[in-house]
């Protein structure tokens, strides 16, 4: 059963996104500068990743601002499409960047070169990155606890990935710097970079396929919609106000949200009972469905 309680979470999400933007901007600039100065592939991969994070944080900030600013967007599948589009864009961008770094790593293995002297500055940068990642991830987990949404979920995954990736990058760069006098170390960073690139690409595929699935949502056919309305008739006496049904098909799953209100004195068990009756009726005709009752409050003009 679903209750519309996402407003505060989107406000918190906006704060986290704003902090991410603030932290990512100098990070993106620093990564690009250090990438040029050090010639480090890990920093290049990180620069691509940071740029992608910056894009996603920017989209997250704009969307969460929009979501909390206008009540009509709080539970709207149209907004879900925009979220999915944002995730799809940033994931697609990450694919392009990771592919470029992967190619550069393969090139470095074929034509190896010794690590550059500016790597110690890259280590300093990575230590700061790891500290910021820990702070942001803790704040994100605390503020969006219990709230669903593809963009919020992908943002949390992104922050976790940042922490892991920055830690690995710090380790790889530090080893490359400390053992720079050993000739074979020139292969260490490109190989580590290829491994990281493959892992990032694999993780990214989940985000991009999820976003693509959401973008391909379809409206249900008329016959199915009428069948769903028949299920509404089974709980007609239990509901005080009927404010509509929202349906969509995502992949093979059909999502159904019944927007109703109940009498003021209705107990939780009565509301739960109505939901279970509706859900059972829906499942009989549409086994691959996920239904929810969204309790709405409608203010009418006196």
């Amino acid at each position: 059963m679903s209750v519309n309680n996402t407003g505060e979470a989107f406000k918190s999400q906006q704060k986290v996104a704003f902090l991410s933007l603030l932290s990512e901007l100098p990070n993106v600039i620093a990564q690009l500068v250090f990438m040029i100065l050090s010639g480090s592939l890990m920093i290049a991969l990180d620069a691509v990743d940071s740029l992608c994070n910056f894009i996603q944080a920017g989209l997250s900030f704009l969307l969460s601002k929009k979501l909390q600013g206008d009540d009509s967007f709080k539970y709207d599948y149209g907004m879900g499409k925009i979220e999915a589009f944002g995730s799809f864009i940033s994931a697609a961008f990450l694919y392009v960047g990771v592919t470029a770094v992967f190619a550069a790593s393969v090139y470095s293995i074929i034509f190896p070169s010794a690590p550059q002297g500016m790597l110690f500055l890259a280590i300093f940068l990575k230590i700061i990155n790891v500290a910021v990642d820990v702070f942001l991830l803790r704040k994100q987990i605390k503020t969006v606890k219990g709230v669903s949404g593809s963009f919020i979920a992908s943002n949390t995954v992104l922050l976790k990935k940042n922490l892991i990736f920055d830690s690995v990058a710090l380790f790889v760069i530090a080893i490359s710097f400390l053992l720079r006098n050993i000739p074979a170390i020139s292969y260490f960073e490109p190989v580590a970079c290829i491994v990281c690139a493959v892992i990032i690409a694999a993780q990214n595929s989940k985000i991009i396929s999820g976003a693509a699935s959401d973008l391909l949502d379809k409206t249900l056919d008329e016959e199915t919609q009428l069948k769903i309305l028949k299920c509404v008739s089974k709980i007609w006496k239990d509901i005080a106000e009927f404010n509509g049904v929202r349906t969509r098909r995502s992949g093979h799953i059909i999502y159904i949200d019944l927007m109703v209100s109940f009498e003021g004195g209705s107990s939780y068990s009565e509301i739960r009972g109505a939901y279970e009756t509706f859900d059972t009726a829906v499942k009989e005709i549409l086994p691959d469905s996920v239904s929810a009752i969204v309790i709405t409050e409608v203010e009418r003009a006196e």
Binding site: Q225, L226, L229, K230, S233, E241, F242, N243, A301
Partner: protein, 99 residues
Amino acid sequence: MEIAKTETAEKTTFALTGRLDTASSPAFQETLIPAFDEVKEITVDFANLAYISSAGLRVLLMGEKTAKSKGAALIIVNVSAEIMEIFEMTGFSQILTIL
């Protein structure tokens, strides 16, 4: 779809012509629901209604609940056999007042 409104002191009649579907349902909803603030009986004449979709049916369900909450009545008249079949199929022939 066209909505023709006829008013008397006690009741309002909306005569629908054309198709009550996804495109026309929002306009009908905006006309029907606020009307319960003014009168206690609203009749919707389906004599010239060729088709009703699930979106149109949803507006009638909203109207029925609104009527009940305001102590008013929503009456649907001149329903064709095709539309009656939809009401029966969805189980709402037992809920809506159809004359």
